[in-house]
């Protein structure tokens, strides 16, 4: 059975597909290169976006006016510690606050001379159900001029832009893969027209449409895979050249990162090459069958 399959894989009839097949191989390589870059970009962007969302959801800061008494500050701290979903509460001491503001104020300024608010750093369970609106209402009664910054509102525009970029990358990847199908279909149709006599001979000898289509499909699978591998390798080289090896092998997800290379990157590159072969094969099969049905 395996011997028969290998025999079938050995191309005996090119029907003129050899020459155009060589050209299509490079077209496929170029399109896989584009699709692979788009796919890798999509994976990276998606991953970064998730990490970004996770980071913003896990942190918040509370600014309490400088003139609030220590007793009231203690009440605020107690309220924060009792709030469900808040994992840790840390009141920055004057030295920490100074270090934080040093890039803006410089080392010479002492904070005692300025009405700098007290800063409280909050760590929040991103998957928990912290009711920020309720917390704001409670804080308004304890420390009326305090300000809770949960980091979620200001980056919404950037978040939407990142999502749009994700859609564009997905669409360009899909378009590149579709172009493979179109290129292969166009090529095999042209070949069938040019080698009409050979196709007709095969028909007269008893070959069905499926038999002739299979000749093209097997060749197209090989051409597609070869072009796909070339394109994927070129994509690896381009990614390494553009971003450095570090960005390729290290996605910013400390909790999920394993090994020297993230498997998703290689899955995209390998998947693009395999998809090119399968798309080329399916496209050739369908194009030949349609053409043969019209020829006789």
């Amino acid at each position: 059975m395996i011997a028969d399959w290998l025999t079938a894989m050995r191309p005996r009839l090119s029907l003129g597909w050899d020459q155009s097949g060589r050209f299509i191989r490079w077209v496929v390589a170029l399109l896989v290169f584009i699709a692979a870059l788009g796919g890798v970009g999509l994976v990276e962007l998606h991953h970064r976006l998730r990490a970004w969302e996770h980071e913003f959801a896990a942190a918040a800061a509370l600014q309490v006016p400088a003139d609030v008494s220590n007793a009231r500050l203690a009440t605020v701290m107690a309220l924060l510690r009792q709030t469900p979903g808040i994992q840790s509460v840390h009141l920055l001491d004057p030295a920490e606050t100074a270090r934080l503001l040093e890039p803006w104020l410089g080392p010479a300024v002492t904070l005692d001379e300025l009405p700098v608010p007290r800063l409280i750093d909050l760590r929040i369970d991103p998957d928990g159900a912290t009711d920020m609106a309720a917390l704001r209402r409670q804080l308004a009664t304890v420390a009326p001029d305090s300000r809770l910054d949960d980091h979620l509102s200001w980056p919404q525009g950037m978040h939407a832009a990142a999502r749009r970029l994700e859609s564009i990358l997905a669409a360009s990847t899909a378009a590149a893969l579709m172009l493979i199908a179109v290129s292969v279909a166009f090529s095999v149709r042209a070949t069938l027209v040019a080698d009409r006599s050979v196709a007709q001979l095969l028909h007269r000898l008893g070959a069905g449409d499926g038999d002739i289509a299979r000749l093209f499909a097997i060749r197209a699978l090989r051409v597609g895979l070869e072009g796909g591998v070339i394109g994927a390798i070129a994509a690896v080289v381009a990614i390494l050249a553009l971003s450095g090896a570090g960005s390729l092998v290290r996605l910013p997800a400390p909790g999920e990162y394993h090994g020297v290379a993230d498997w998703r990157i290689w899955a995209v590159l390998g998947g693009a090459a395999v998809a090119a072969g399968l798309i080329a094969m399916a496209s050739a099969w369908a194009a030949v069958r349609r053409r043969l049905a019209r020829m006789s």
């Binding site: 028969d4 005996r12 028909h203 008893g206 069905g208 049905a293 006789s296």
Partner: protein, 226 residues
């Protein structure tokens, strides 16, 4: 049992005169026939109908008992695999070797490589081309190409062998040799139909003959003794 049956079959292309008119004939299994007629009489069209390369404009054509008009494309292909054809020209694929040209019907039928090799080697020896298996057909002479075409037509042991003017311009000696080869195949049970425009040549053999004249069949079904 008839290998082929035509009942009032006609063929017309466009608005011109019909190529075939009301042709009825019956080819019995295992029999040997000549189809004679001048060039343009409609012989090739009739053979194309029988080999399912074209559809009749009207009438009923049955091949191995199956109504050709009712067959889908896959069923037509399956029936064609039971027919061997020697075309008017050799019609070989020059990018393939002699061996691979002869092997085509077996490959199309899905035969195993060992079976293909054994059968092709045997046939090539039979037609005197044993040493040329690896040669490209483009390098062969006209006579050699025709022998390859005959080997290809019979390599899969067809139930029906159709030959359209197989000798071509090869001369009387070649033509007689080909008929002797076809007679040997016929003795194995294959129905044979040879088309030729040389009526006198066909009369030299004691086989049934049909004659086409301007698309009309004369002496249909009759065995002509003369």
């Amino acid at each position: 049992m008839a290998a082929v049956e035509l009942d009032h079959v006609g063929k017309r292309e466009g608005i011109g005169a019909p190529i075939l008119s009301d042709v009825s004939l019956r080819l019995e299994e295992g029999a040997f026939y000549f189809l004679t007629g001048a060039s343009g009489a409609g012989k090739t069209t009739l053979l194309r109908l029988i080999t399912l390369a074209e559809r009749a404009s009207h009438g009923t054509l049955k091949v191995f008992g199956a109504d050709a008009a009712a067959l889908d494309r896959d069923a037509q292909a399956a029936l064609r695999r039971r027919i061997g054809i020697v075309f008017q020209g050799p019609w070989l694929i020059d990018e393939l070797s002699v061996h691979d040209n002869v092997a085509l019907p077996l490959r199309i039928a899905g035969a195993a490589e060992r079976e293909i090799r054994d059968n092709v080697d045997e046939l090539l020896a039979w037609v005197g081309m044993a040493g040329r298996a690896a040669a490209r057909t483009a390098t062969l002479s006209g006579g050699e190409r025709q022998r390859i075409a005959i080997a290809r037509a019979i390599v899969h042991r067809p139930a029906l062998l159709i030959a359209d003017d197989p000798a071509g311009s090869g001369g009387d000696e070649i033509a007689v040799l080909l008929v002797r080869i076809f007679e040997r195949i016929n003795r194995l049970g294959t129905t044979v139909l040879i088309a030729t425009d040389d009526v006198r040549f066909a009369r030299r053999f004691e086989h049934q003959r049909f004659h086409l004249d301007h698309g009309m069949l004369s002496n249909a079904g009759a065995a002509l003794a003369q």
